[in-house]
């Protein structure tokens, strides 16, 4: 009887508490260790378009930047973007032209960055309690503490548009879109290498483009 009492008094509440804590917290995996592990490359294409018929392309010598009015764009990585695109487009067997009238496809690159801030608030649970009379509302809890961190992200979007489309139309069909997104953290050299690698990946996962 004493054995049973001790078992019930000690072990059962302990197991109950452990399970309640586990259920409340769940588990999360460790975050990736390297900045490049946060890079993402996405491509999509018009399945009905004949990419095999493309012989020439026009690639403007500037990258479009999406920025707020009055903000000076960051053009540090524009050369890497344009050079990587030209290299990959040439490797498809396409010929670059500067004459819009003779281009089969127009390739446009757009870049933008974003500042992100994440805050987590931790409240002291025991400091919060309801007012006794509901019409008067509850009492505010004791303030906890807030932890914030910020990070920059950058995106490059590459779009291919058929040169023969009607540019006055409300909807302009895109034949292929490649997008990359990642953290704008680390040295400029590191970011440049990652941009080149991700643009290469866009074309590596798009074998249907090749003549």
């Amino acid at each position: 009887m004493k054995h049973k009492t001790i078992y019930r008094r000690l072990c059962m509440p302990m197991f109950t508490a452990i399970f309640a804590m586990l259920l409340h917290s769940s588990c999360l995996p460790p975050l990736p260790d390297n900045v490049e592990d946060y890079d993402l490359t996405v491509t999509t294409f018009d399945e009905d378009y004949n990419f095999g018929g493309i012989q020439t392309y026009l690639l403007p010598d500037t990258v479009a930047h999406l920025i707020s009015a009055g903000v000076i764009p960051n053009t540090t990585f524009d050369d890497e973007i344009l050079n990587s695109l030209a290299r990959n487009l040439d490797a498809l067997g396409w010929t670059r032209t500067t004459d819009m009238a003779t281009a089969d496809i127009v390739v446009v690159a757009t870049a933008f960055g974003q500042d992100n801030e994440v805050c987590y608030a931790y409240w002291d649970y025991w400091g919060y309690y309801w007012g006794y009379y509901p019409p008067y509302g509850g009492y505010p809890g004791y303030p906890g503490y807030v932890s914030c961190s910020s990070y920059k992200t950058g995106s490059v979007i590459v779009q291919m548009v058929d040169r023969t489309i009607d540019t006055s139309a409300a909807d302009i069909p895109l034949r292929w879109v490649g997008a990359m997104n990642g953290l704008l953290e680390g040295s400029n050299q590191n970011i440049s290498v990652r941009i080149v690698n991700n643009i290469d990946q866009m074309f590596a996962q798009s074998p249907y483009l090749k003549n």
Partner: protein
């Protein structure tokens, strides 16, 4: 949904601690099954715990009760390329899930439950709250829901002197049919632990 499950589990644990019968606590390693869940989690996982309480019937080789469990499964897939229709995505992918089954169980001991070696079989039926998540880049894709859950086990209890407490070794299988939010989930397991009759 998750809070409802916490309440149900606490109520169950409170009841089980006062029931006259048997209880056990086990640790489980899990092996994902086949199908989409086997693709979602493709590796053996090492986090799984179950607490169970049972009431013995007039024929003490039969007992009924319930169990609460927690399984955490993670698969760091590394840099992976996925295709769906005309969209291709490449990124560092990690998939993981937390599963909390709450089951009603029926157990059959194939020998005297107070013997030295007691083989048993057990089935469980109930529900499970699951949270399946896929992280890639700086993005996460998360779904959670409550699923129907079933479980089957065969094992053996090795009782010490007195025949009331002992070690447990068992093989298990869990199945939860898919919902609109979650994949059909199935996995095998090997569990070890200790239990007692009180």
């Amino acid at each position: 949904m998750k809070r409802l499950f916490i309440v149900c589990m606490l109520l169950f644990a409170g009841y089980a601690s006062n029931a006259q019968g048997a209880s056990e606590f086990t640790y489980q390693m899990s092996i994902p099954g086949t199908g989409e869940f086997g693709d979602f989690i493709s590796k053996v996982t090492w986090v799984g715990f179950t607490y169970q309480g049972r009431k013995m019937l007039s024929d003490e080789q039969w007992s009924v009760g319930g169990s609460i469990s927690w399984f955490y499964m993670v698969d760091e897939k590394g840099r992976t390329t996925y295709e769906r229709e005309n969209v291709t995505v490449t990124g560092y992918v990690t998939t993981f899930t937390n599963i909390f089954p709450l089951l009603l169980t029926v157990q059959r001991d194939f020998k005297d439950p107070y013997g030295t070696v007691v083989p048993f079989a057990r089935i469980g039926v109930g529900g499970a709250w699951q949270d399946q998540r896929l992280d890639t880049g700086i993005y996460e894709f998360k779904d959670d829901d409550i699923q129907f859950a079933m479980n089957g086990e065969i094992g053996v209890r090795l009782n010490g002197a007195g025949g009331r407490n002992g070690a447990i070794i068992a093989a298990t299988y869990h199945w939860m049919p898919g919902t609109d939010e979650l994949l059909d989930t199935n996995f095998f397991g090997v569990k070890v632990g200790f239990g007692g009759i009180h």
